[in-house]
């Protein structure tokens, strides 16, 4: 009889978990099981230290002073921009705009690019599984310009209908804006096909990478997309910092979206001229602490290796999927063949909100609700789901605790 080989974790989880101070604590008397990484991932000590060190030793305003500290701060901040360029394999740091996060990145494109490129009757193509951050900015742009949204359907697995997508591209299509990975379902979108079909028609593509960058290697040149947006805090970095990658030629042609200091070259009351890329899009004092923390997070993630991270997360996903499917009355929402490491689910007779409270009492943090993706909830005809989203620091034992708590919830609600 064959004995199944015991797979050793490819990561030294004990050592890695020790890098995250917050994971050491107890919640309601139980060791914390943090399975809400899709909402916000935890920060390793390396990131927390980088943020603190900047504040203790190097902080001053950037791009301004001739004094030593200002130069240090500028070097660190611009060093962070170069770090992001390398992480994404962008051609130039001119293509890396720091923002507050994915939401602001998409709003920047919707307002600046949309303002000069959208006309009445033009179409923006999005998908049914978008996060509100990739729906509402386009709705606002449509209201301002008279353009229209076209929404590409998904199927019951939560996969994009590629034929419908290709059919939705037409004479009036001006932009395709799609998730790289769905936050509500975990679906990894067929971005190569999405970009190829759009590019064949000369239509630019924006990818919402908020849920992709923590799990898989993103190379904007290989993807051949025109805009790529993501947030620092889902990549083990700080909140309040995010990135918009934009193809240089497009960014160059776009007007500024916010006015103020740093984004100008000259100002007079007769008119002003704009700074070079990327500063044209960074009005006001930027979030230096956040950018430096994000760079530290990228160092940390690359130090482990996104391929190893992805491999372990995939094991966690398979393990969790099998275990959760075996819980009576539990249905997994979103069963795409290519999925990132999260599981959305509902349980007969127990509302997700109750599950959230019950699990919390066991020290288990999951997300419950509509996940800022109300159309997805409507599509699957559920008011909400419970979502466990895994990071590389999660363990099989934590999934076992999740499953045990779910059995408990089921018993309680009988």
């Amino acid at each position: 009889m064959a004995v199944a080989p015991r797979l050793a974790p490819p990561l030294d989880l004990e050592r890695l978990r020790a890098d995250f101070p917050i994971l050491q604590q107890r919640v309601h008397g139980k060791p914390l099981v943090y399975l809400d990484n899709g909402a916000s991932a935890q920060r390793p000590r390396a990131v927390l230290d980088a943020e603190r060190r900047y504040g203790e030793q190097f902080h001053a305003n950037v791009h301004r002073g001739v004094h030593w500290l200002s130069q240090q701060a500028t070097d660190l901040f611009e060093g962070a921009r170069e770090r992001v360029r390398r992480f994404l394999n962008a051609r130039s740091t001119k293509e890396i705009v720091f923002t507050r996060g994915t939401t602001e990145s998409i709003n920047l494109v919707a307002q600046s690019w949309g303002g000069v490129n959208l006309r009445p009757g033009d179409e923006i193509v999005i998908s049914w599984l978008e996060h509100h951050a990739n729906i509402v900015p386009w709705q606002l742009a449509c209201e301002r310009t008279g353009a229209r949204l076209r929404v590409v359907p998904i199927d019951r697995r939560g996969e994009l209908d590629l034929d419908a997508y290709r059919a939705s591209l037409g004479e009036r299509t001006r932009l395709v804006a799609m998730s790289h990975v769905s936050n509500a379902l975990g679906t990894v979108m067929p971005v190569r096909e999405i970009v190829a079909a759009a590019r064949a028609r000369g239509v630019p593509v924006l990818l919402d990478g908020a849920q992709a960058v923590p799990h898989l290697r993103v190379d904007v040149q290989a993807l051949d997309c025109d805009f790529y947006a993501f947030s620092g805090h889902k990549l083990y970095g700080p909140t309040g910092i995010g990135v918009l990658y934009g193809r240089e030629a497009l960014l160059e042609a776009m007007p500024p979206w916010q006015g103020g200091g740093d984004m100008i070259r000259t100002v007079s009351f007769e008119g002003s001229t704009w700074n070079d890329l990327p500063y044209k899009f960074e009005a006001g004092t930027p979030n230096m602490t956040g950018a430096i923390g994000l760079a530290a997070a990228m160092d940390y993630v690359d130090g482990i290796g996104l391929e190893r991270i992805g491999a372990w997360e995939h094991e966690l996903l398979e393990y969790a999927t099998a275990k959760l499917q075996a819980v009576p009355g539990l249905t997994i929402v979103g069963q795409a063949r290519d999925k990132a490491s999260l599981v959305s689910f509902v349980m007969d007779g127990v509302h997700p909100h109750d599950l959230g409270t019950i699990l919390d009492q066991d020290g288990i943090a999951i997300r419950t609700g509509h996940h800022c993706a109300m159309p997805v909830m409507t599509f699957f005809d559920v008011p909400a789901t419970a979502r466990a989203s895994f990071a590389f620091y999660n363990t099989r034992a934590e999934i076992d605790r999740l499953v045990a708590a779910l059995h408990g919830a089921r018993e309680m609600f009988g």
Binding site: V350, G369, P383, A384, M412
Partner: protein, 147 residues
């Protein structure tokens, strides 16, 4: 905090078998309530006889706390005057939000909601039905939101 304090048997029972679940035809007053945070949706129908709530039904989707609270409310306010229903709501509101709130006998089975105050994120779940009832009594048309 103990889960059994939140999910008391009365709550679990009313969640599983909500009383007065359904609709009432016009001219019954009706109002919709929505808790955007968790997606709870509730419609309350009230049939008034002068100043007295002669019948009340509700329907919708929600968590155990919101369904049980609406079910308990429906039993508690049926046959009462609007003023009595309002007074009861004041007591329930105190029960849900004030640590030192008494649990007067007049609350009856509604006292089972006492555990909710230990779970601040869930207070809105329990109060949604009362806000919606109030809107129905006021004859408002705009949906009620907890946000």
């Amino acid at each position: 905090m103990d889960l059994k304090d939140l999910y008391r048997d009365v709550i679990l029972d009313h969640n599983k078998r909500p009383r007065n679940f359904g609709t009432l035809p016009p001219p019954a007053h009706e109002a919709r309530g929505h808790n955007p945070l968790c997606g709870d949706q509730l419609t309350v129908y009230v049939e008034l006889d002068g100043d007295v709530i002669r019948d009340l039904r509700f329907e919708g989707k929600g968590c155990a706390i919101s369904v049980a609270s609406a079910s308990l409310m429906s039993e508690a306010v049926k046959g009462r005057s609007r003023a009595d229903a309002n007074a009861l709501y004041e007591q329930v509101h105190d029960l849900l939000t004030r640590q030192d709130a008494p649990s007067p006998p007049s609350l009856g089975k509604l006292a089972a909601l006492q555990g909710v105050r230990e779970f601040p994120a869930r207070v809105k779940c329990a109060s949604l039905c009362w806000h919606t009832l109030n809107a129905a009594l006021e004859g408002g048309v705009a949906p009620v939101s907890t946000e």
